[in-house]
């Protein structure tokens, strides 16, 4: 790691940058000019969010708050738990613990910094994490291992049984720094009684672990409040989803990332509800006024991302969709699999519902919700089994009227790359052109954006889509 990078506290740096960007919208012209100079590498991204209107600004503020919470945690007498994006932070909020979600931190870093998270990723390898491991954890983990972030107190991870490389990153962090560790573990099936019970047993034990680590008992009133908030958020997200279904969609591509990034950072937190409200409101207005979601004006094509998006400098990926008139109808991360959502109709038994009537009902609800977070829901079992990746992708492609399906991930993702070729083949058999992006969503050294873009262009042209 470059010595100059060692000089800055990572969280502080990020909080500062995001704060500055968020404040831009209200600043005077002169202040704005100053700030652009202060955050030169971030300007592309920040402009993208600011141009997205009130939701974008709210999102930047939310991001800043996220880092700020981490920075202030210990001062405020709170513990920090390192965790994964597919472990809902709502339980941590209910228990007064501050989440530090590696994948989110890496993605934001990759967007914000000119050099991406390269230095941190590489530092992680220096400590012994394999270079072949998933970059989404490696970035933030590198900063943590290098001691450049606020110290974390314990680790809760929920990918064992679903994604080795992810789970392994957290297990490594725990062993390397000697921090307490709890793993939620998922069976390869979903929806049957046995696995439902397993989810709950496992979740209860996790709560015991968090209680022990934080020194605070779970307060069910608090949990009830948080779940009620999640309930609202789910309904708002469902509204967004409905609007994504419209052709042409009034939802700009960049909104999809805000939906899930918000959820991964602030599920159950009123701040996220506010963000969603602003988004729904803005989108409704757009729809009413006939303003298309795409800056290109015309919607030429609709895409379902069957996995994650591409997060590198300057939001290139989202701009690309905007400019070419391609509607982004969400990725595996966008959806929440709440009962009653349209896309779960074709996926019986694989959704959850929220019931706050009793402490037990609340626990069951949150455990089942957690077991249906992105990825841990759909890539836990063989892809062609009931409710898993193939059925889910097809259900979404149908409902969102996708013209084609695109995969993007990271080379570290053994789990999806292990089945991707047959999976793509099956999707093609169902009549969907499939493009497999060969890059790393978090590390554009693996494939430059130019090369990635060329391949995308080629796909759309050769397959006669654009």
């Amino acid at each position: 790691m470059r010595p100059e990078i060692r000089e800055y506290n990572y969280d502080w740096m990020m909080a500062g940058t995001l704060n500055a960007a968020g404040a831009l919208a209200n600043g005077t012209k002169k202040e704005t000019e100053m700030t652009w100079r202060y955050i030169p590498y971030f300007s592309g991204v920040a402009r993208a969010f600011i141009n997205a209107g009130p939701p974008g600004i709210a999102f930047l503020e939310l991001g800043a708050r996220y880092y700020q919470n981490i920075l202030n945690a210990h001062r405020d007498g709170k513990k920090i738990a390192a965790t994964t994006f597919c472990n809902t932070p709502s339980i941590l909020y209910a228990m007064g613990v501050v989440p530090a979600t590696f994948e989110v931190l890496t993605a934001i870093g990759a967007l914000v910094w000119k050099r991406g998270m390269f230095d941190y990723m590489d530092y992680c390898c220096e400590t012994g994490m394999p270079e072949t491991s998933c970059s989404s954890q490696r970035g933030a983990l590198g900063a943590v291992l290098a001691g450049l972030s606020e110290k974390i107190d314990f680790i809760v991870c929920d990918t064992p049984g679903v994604c080795d490389t992810n789970a392994n990153a957290f297990a490594f962090a725990s062993a390397y720094m000697d921090k307490p560790f709890y793993q939620l573990n998922y069976p390869s099936v979903l929806g049957d009684e046995r696995s439902q019970k397993y989810h709950i047993d496992d979740y209860k034990e996790m709560i015991r672990f968090i209680e022990e680590q934080s020194g605070k008992k779970l307060d069910y009133d608090q949990l009830g409040t948080v779940l009620a908030e999640v309930d609202k958020q789910d309904a708002l997200t469902a509204d967004m989803e409905d609007m994504l279904m419209l052709t042409p969609t009034p939802v700009p591509p960049i909104y999809t990332i805000m939906i899930y990034a918000g959820r991964f950072c602030f599920s159950g937190h009123p701040e996220y509800t506010r963000l969603l409200e602003i988004m729904v409101d803005t989108t409704r207005k757009r729809a009413a006024a006939g303003v298309p979601g795409l800056s290109a004006g015309e919607e030429k094509l609709r895409v379902v991302m069957c996995y994650i998006d591409h997060y590198t400098v300057d939001m290139n990926f989202y701009h690309y969709f905007e400019e070419r008139g391609i509607a982004h109808t969400g990725s595996i991360l966008t959806r929440n699999f709440r009962d009653g959502n349209k896309y779960v109709a074709d996926l019986p038994g694989t959704s959850y519902s929220i019931d706050t009537s009793s402490p037990d009902a609340m626990l069951d609800s949150i455990a089942q919700m957690n077991a249906r977070m992105p990825m841990v829901r759909s890539i836990r079992g063989p892809y062609d089994k009931q409710g898993m990746w193939l059925e889910e992708t097809l259900a979404c492609a149908k409902l969102y009227q996708a013209d084609c399906i695109i995969y993007n991930g990271t080379p570290g993702c053994r789990n999806t790359w292990g089945m991707l070729k047959p999976f793509a083949r099956d999707l093609e058999k169902h009549g969907y052109p499939v493009h497999i992006m060969n890059d790393d969503g978090f590390d554009d050294r693996v494939e430059s954006w130019d090369a990635t873009r060329e391949r995308l262009d080629e796909f759309f042209n050769v397959r006669g889509l654009l």
Binding site: R2, R6, E126, E131, D444, R445, V446, S448, A451
Partner: protein, 265 residues
């Protein structure tokens, strides 16, 4: 006093050194041939010629390098990791950490006061951490090996390159050339990709004390200077001899030790 020899048959170059009383009598370096046996004969012939000696004058001879098991005239063969450790110590007595980058391998090691190797790490991943990577890239850029190293200093904004694959990086490089990116920025990007890969390996052994680079890539000033930046440490210069010769020198020193302890043939 006895003459001893070290012969380092690498994948790209073959080196031979004749030493006496801890001093170099003669050295030679040639481009490796397809068969290591041939390379060894040739480079040894060359160095013997320069010193005006014959193979019989060598009391003990140690072979090292990629082709070490194919050299007919040596008494023994030792891995290049151990030889580079010894050689580095001779080149710079204060050295504790050695980085050796040759044609097809990159190794970093800690050495003790006698030049014995302790912890070491080697690049097992991709060809991009090797000298061969630089050669391929230099060819694409139509510059010489020397010149490639000098590009870093001239560059203002180096490109970022996939450091994971030589051949794919080559594709990116061609793309950058095509789109008119200045050659120094491309070259600097190449050196940086290489240095980044090496830095990971260096830090894996926890560098301490004086650091020395051996092997041919030590001559690439772009890689060296970027590596210094990444590590935040200075890399010492070897003045006594060409760092590319370190393996052969180490082999000769080990040979001298064998000769001293009476293990002559």
């Amino acid at each position: 006093m006895p003459f001893v020899a070290g012969c380092d048959v690498g994948s790209l170059t073959s080196k031979a050194v004749i030493m006496k009383n801890g001093k170099i009598v003669a050295d030679a370096i040639i481009k490796s041939r397809a068969r290591p046996g041939d390379s060894a004969e040739e480079v040894m012939g060359e160095v013997l010629g320069r010193a005006n000696l014959t193979q019989k004058d060598m009391v003990y001879c140690i072979g090292t390098g990629y082709g070490r098991d194919k050299i007919s005239f040596v008494d023994e063969s030792v891995s290049e990791i151990s030889c580079h450790g010894k050689g580095a110590r001779w080149l710079l007595p204060s050295v504790e950490t050695v980085i050796d980058i040759g044609g097809q391998d990159c190794k970093t090691m800690k050495i003790d006061a006698d030049g014995n190797v302790g912890r070491f790490a080697a690049n097992d991943k991709c060809a991009s951490g090797t000298g061969r990577f630089l050669e391929v890239m230099a060819r694409v850029l139509h510059v010489g090996m020397d010149e490639l190293g000098k590009l870093t200093a001239r560059s203002r904004s180096p490109i970022t390159l996939a450091s994971t694959c030589t051949v794919w990086a080559q594709a990116d490089v061609i793309k950058y050339i095509n789109s008119g990116v200045p050659i120094e920025d491309i070259g600097a990007g190449i050196n940086t990709a290489m240095a980044a890969r090496v830095a990971i390996l260096v830090n894996a052994v926890k560098p301490s004390g004086d650091i020395l680079m051996t092997g041919g890539v030590a001559k690439n000033i772009g890689v060296v200077s970027t590596l210094e930046k990444l590590l935040g440490m200075k890399i010492k210069k070897a003045r006594k001899a060409d760092p590319q010769m370190a393996g052969a020198i180490g082999a000769a020193l080990l040979a001298a030790h064998k000769a001293d302890t009476g293990e002559r043939r």
